[in-house]
C-alpha cells in the first residue's frame, strides 16, 4: 500500500478549509481584516489606557502569586533590616517579601503601580479628547457613559489596590474611606460597620478589598472595556473632516496590515515606557511607611493622583456642619459634601452632558465627523471650566507639599484653593470662548482673503497693502472668491500651500536640509540685485 504523500504546501489551505467547514469563519474574518480605521494621533490616546490595562492584568497576576491578603499579625523576618522583628499584618509582610525577597518582585510591583497611574492618566486625557472634539454625540452617548463608568471603576480599582499592602499610608487612606462612609446621613455608621465587618479596621477589610481588586472590579472593567471596544467596532470610529471624508464614510487604513502593526508597535512602546519608569522612578516605597498603626501618620499623606481631586475638595471644604435638632440631634458632617456628593456628581454628572447638549442645539442627527474645539466655543468653554476645576481640586489635594516646598503658608494655600475653585473655572470658560471665537474669525478671514504672505505692496496712490495669497479661485477683479469653512484646518502659512519650501522636519534641530523654495511659474525667482523693482503678487493675476 502506498502511503499518500503529505503535501506541506497545501496544508494551511486544507486546514483552513476544514476549519471553515465547521465554523464558517471566512466571511466574518474577511470583514474583520477589512475594517477601515481613520488615522490621527489623538485617536491613540485611548489605546494607552487599553494597553496599560493589559499590563496591569499581566503584572497583577504575578503579584497575586506572592501576596497574602490576610490581616493576621505576624513578626517580619525578611531581609529588610529596618523592619525585622516588627509585628505586622501578613498582607504587609508579603508585600515586603514581594519587594525584597522575590527576585524581580519589586520591578513588577512598581510596573503595576506605574501602569495604574498611566491607566487613569490616559483615561482622563482620552476623555478630554472625546469631549473637546464632540465625539460623544449621537450615536456614541452610550460609549461616553461607559467611559465615565470606566473612570469610576478605575478609581475604585486604584483605591483598593493602594490599600492592599496594608502599610502606614494605605491604612490612613482606609481610615479616611471609613470616615467618608460614616459621613453618609442616616446609614453611615451601618455602611462602615458592614464594609469593615465591625469597627474600623477589623480583620476582614484586606480580604474583601483583595477579592474586589483582583476579581470583581477587574471583571467589571474587562466587561465594560470589551463593550467599549465593541461599540467602537460596531459604530466605526469618528473621523476629522477633510478631503473625501463625509458623515457616511470612514477614510483611513484597513486594519491589516498597517494599522494593526502600528497598534502592536504602540503597545510595545507603552509597555516599554511603563517598564522604564518602573526602573527609573521609585514609586510607593512601602517599606518606609511601616505597618499600619492607628496612631501613626505621616505629613504629606495623599492618595494617588486620580483620587487627589476628591481629597483636594475635602481639604477645601469649609467646616460647615449641618445640625438637625430632632430628638438627640443628628448631624451631616462637612466631609459628606465633597467626598460623597462631590465624587458622585463629578463622575456621574458628565454622563448626561451629551443629552443636554443635543437638547440645547435641538440636534437629533448622528454625527461621525469630529468638530474642532474652536468651532463649538460653548462646549470648549464648558470643558475648560471642568478641567480647571479638576486641576485646582487636584493641586489642592497636594497643597501641603506645595506649601512646604515652595514656602507658602499652608493656610494661604487652602484659601487660594477655595477662591481658585470658584473664580478660575468661570474665567477659564470666558477665556476659552474668547480664544475660540478669535481663532474662528481668523479662519474665516483667511478663507475670505487668502493667506497673509508678509509681502507689502505699495499702491500707486501711496497706500501700503499686504498681498494675500488666495486659497481658491479669484473673480474677474482678481479678488479671491470667499470659501466655505469645511470644519478642518485652514492653511495659514505659505509653505502649506506649496508656495514656500515645506516646513523643515525635526523637533529640536533640522534632521534634513531645508528644501529649496520652488519657483512658481507666475513669479520669477527673486534676484538680489533687483530690490528696487516693484514687487508684484504675480500669482494673483
Amino acid at each position: 500500500m502506498k502511503r499518500r504523500k503529505l503535501d506541506i504546501g497545501a496544508l494551511p489551505g486544507a486546514t483552513a478549509k476544514q476549519l471553515d467547514d465547521r465554523f464558517q469563519v471566512a466571511t466574518p474574518l474577511r470583514r474583520l481584516l477589512n475594517k477601515v480605521f481613520p488615522d490621527h494621533w489623538s485617536f491613540l490616546l485611548g489605546e494607552i489606557a487599553l494597553f496599560s490595562f493589559i499590563i496591569l492584568l499581566l503584572t497583577g497576576t504575578f503579584l497575586t502569586l506572592f501576596y497574602d491578603p490576610s490581616m493576621r499579625e505576624i513578626e517580619y523576618e525578611g531581609s529588610y533590616t529596618a523592619l525585622r522583628g516588627v509585628e505586622m499584618s501578613a498582607a504587609y509582610a508579603s508585600s515586603l517579601d514581594l519587594s525584597f525577597d522575590v527576585r524581580g518582585g519589586l520591578i513588577m510591583r512598581q510596573m503595576h503601580h506605574w501602569a495604574a497611574l498611566l491607566f487613569m492618566a490616559s483615561i482622563v486625557v482620552h476623555m478630554a479628547r472625546v469631549f473637546f472634539t464632540g465625539a460623544f454625540r449621537k450615536p456614541r452617548e452610550a460609549n461616553w457613559a461607559i467611559g465615565l463608568i470606566l473612570f469610576l471603576l478605575g478609581f475604585l480599582a486604584g483605591f483598593t489596590g493602594y490599600s492592599l499592602p496594608d502599610d502606614g499610608l494605605s491604612g490612613t487612606g482606609l481610615r479616611i474611606a471609613s470616615a467618608i462612609m460614616l459621613s453618609i446621613p442616616v446609614v453611615g455608621s451601618w455602611i462602615s460597620s458592614s464594609v469593615f465587618g465591625g469597627e474600623f479596621p477589623g480583620h476582614l477589610i484586606i480580604g474583601r478589598f483583595y477579592i474586589a481588586h483582583v476579581l470583581l472590579i477587574p471583571g467589571a472593567l474587562l466587561g465594560l472595556i470589551s463593550a467599549h471596544l465593541a461599540l467602537v467596532f460596531k459604530q466605526k470610529h469618528t473621523q476629522w473632516p477633510g478631503p473625501m471624508r463625509t458623515n457616511s464614510n470612514v477614510v483611513g487604513e484597513r486594519m491589516f496590515p498597517r494599522y494593526a502593526l502600528k497598534q502592536g508597535g504602540f503597545f510595545m512602546l507603552v509597555f516599554g515606557v511603563v517598564a522604564l519608569m518602573a526602573g527609573l522612578f521609585q514609586i510607593n516605597p512601602i517599606w518606609l511607611f511601616g505597618p499600619y498603626r492607628a496612631a501613626e501618620v505621616s505629613s504629606a499623606s495623599q492618595p494617588d493622583w486620580y483620587v487627589m481631586f476628591m481629597d483636594g475638595l475635602v481639604r477645601l471644604m469649609p467646616a460647615w456642619q449641618i445640625d438637625i435638632p430632632i430628638g438627640d440631634g443628628y448631624v451631616i458632617p462637612p466631609l459628606f459634601w465633597p467626598a460623597v456628593v462631590g465624587l458622585g456628581a463629578l463622575t456621574t454628572g458628565p454622563i448626561f452632558y451629551p443629552f443636554i447638549e443635543a437638547r440645547r442645539y435641538k440636534d437629533k442627527k448622528s454625527h461621525h465627523l469630529l468638530q474642532r474645539p474652536r468651532d463649538v466655543p460653548e462646549r470648549t468653554g464648558v470643558g475648560a471650566m471642568a478641567l480647571t476645576f479638576f486641576v485646582v481640586a487636584t493641586i489642592s489635594g497636594g497643597n501641603d507639599v506645595i506649601a512646604d516646598k515652595f514656602h507658602i503658608s499652608l493656610n494661604a494655600m487652602t484659601w487660594i484653593g477655595r477662591i481658585g475653585l470658584l473664580v478660575l473655572p468661570p474665567l477659564a470658560y470666558y477665556l476659552a470662548v474668547r480664544i475660540c471665537l478669535g481663532l474662528q474669525q481668523h479662519d474665516r478671514e483667511v478663507l475670505a482673503h487668502g493667506v497673509e504672505t508678509g509681502i507689502i505692496k505699495r499702491l500707486p496712490n501711496g497706500r501700503f497693502v499686504e498681498v494675500h495669497q488666495p486659497l481658491g479661485p479669484v473673480d474677474e477683479h482678481g479678488h479671491p472668491v470667499p470659501l466655505d469653512y469645511a470644519g478642518w484646518v485652514v492653511p495659514k502659512k505659505m509653505n502649506r500651500l506649496g508656495a514656500l519650501g515645506p516646513a523643515v522636519r525635526g523637533f529640536f534641530y533640522p534632521i534634513e536640509k531645508p528644501a529649496e523654495a520652488p519657483t512658481s511659474p507666475g513669479m520669477p525667482p527673486v534676484q538680489p540685485r533687483e530690490e528696487r523693482k516693484e514687487l508684484t503678487s504675480g500669482g494673483q493675476q
Partner: protein, 373 residues
Amino acid sequence: MTDVKHHGAHGAQDGDRPAVDLSDPTLTRFEIVREGARRDDIEIVTYESQFPHPGSKQEKRIERAIALLFILAGALAMAFLAVYIFWEWEFELGWTLSDYFTPLLGITLGFSLMCVGFAILAWAKKLLPHEISIQDRHEAMSTDEDRQITGQTMVYTVDELGVQRRPLLKGAVALGLAPLGLVAAAPLVGGLIRNPHKNETPEMYSTGFNPAFNNGQLVRLTREDGTPIRPDDVSVGGQMTVFPGIPHGATNEWADSPTLLIHLRSTDAEAARQANAGDPNEHNQDAMWGNYIAYSKICTHAGCPASLYEQQTNRLLCPCHQSQFLITDNARPIFGPASRRLPQLPITVDDEGFFVASSDYREAIGPDFWERP
C-alpha cells in the same frame, strides 16, 4: 495630492465596476484582496509603495535600521536576563550594587520593549505601502418593516405566555419569585450588614479607656510598648502618644484609642484650664491633671491622627486635610474642614504615680456621623 498614483480604477465610478470573476487565473493576489474589500464596501483609493524602485538605497537603509532595532532589543533582553540572573539583588543596607538591580531591570526591559515598538512602527510606517481606503459607514437604520416585525414578535411572545389573561399565574409567579429573590439577598444582608450599635458597651462611643474593658479598674495611659507613664516622663513642651493600658491596647484592635498626652507650659496650662472650666458642653471640666492635657489623636474630620503638635502656638494640625485645633481652647477647630473639636480625655494620677484615665472619653471620638449626639 495630484502626484498620487492610483492603482486600478479611480474615484467614484469605482463602485459601479462589475464584480471580478474570482475564477480568472490571471488575477493577481492584490486584485483578489481589492475585490474582497469591495464586497465590504471599501474602496482602496491609494495603495502605493513608498519606494518607486524596489530595493532602492533608501529602502535598504530603513531595513537596516529596523534590523538594528530588533537586534538591539534582543541584546537588551539578554542584558535583562543577565542582570536578573547574575546581579546582586538581595536587600542590603547602604549604597550597594543590589540597589541598582531594579533600575537595571527596568531600564533594560523598557528600552528593549521600546526598541521592538519602534522597529514595528518603523516597519509599518516606512516600509508598508501608503494606503487610503474609504469604507461606507452603513449606519442605515433598520427599516420600518424590520422594526415592526421585531416589535410584534416581542409583543407576541409576551402574549403567548398569556400573563395578562391569567391573573392567577401572575400572582403565583410574583409570590413564587419574590421570596427567591430575597433568598439571594438574605446572605448579603444577614452576613454583611452589621449593626454598629449592638454591643453592650457601644463601639461607636467607647474606647479602650473605658474601665469596662479593664474589669472596672481605671485604665492606665501607656506607651506603645505597654509601659505606664509618670508625669515627669513628658517634658514641658513635649507630647507623647499614649494608649490604653489593657491587653493589645496599642494595636489596631483599639484603633479609636490613641491619645496625645501634652505637657503644657504653665501659662498655656492656665489658659487651657480656664477654657476647660468654661466648656459650654461641660465635658472637659477637671479633665486636666496639673499642666498635662490629653486629647484624642483621632481627627474628628476624617479619622487621621491629628498629631502635628506645635509647641509654641499650641496648635494641633492634622496632616491629611490640614484641620487645625487650638489645644488651649478645648481643641476647638480654628482652620480647615473639621467642624468638631477633639474630645479630651480626663486624666489623673493613681496611687503609684502613673497616669490613668479618670473615665472614658465623655464625647464620641473619631469622625462625625449621623447619629452622633
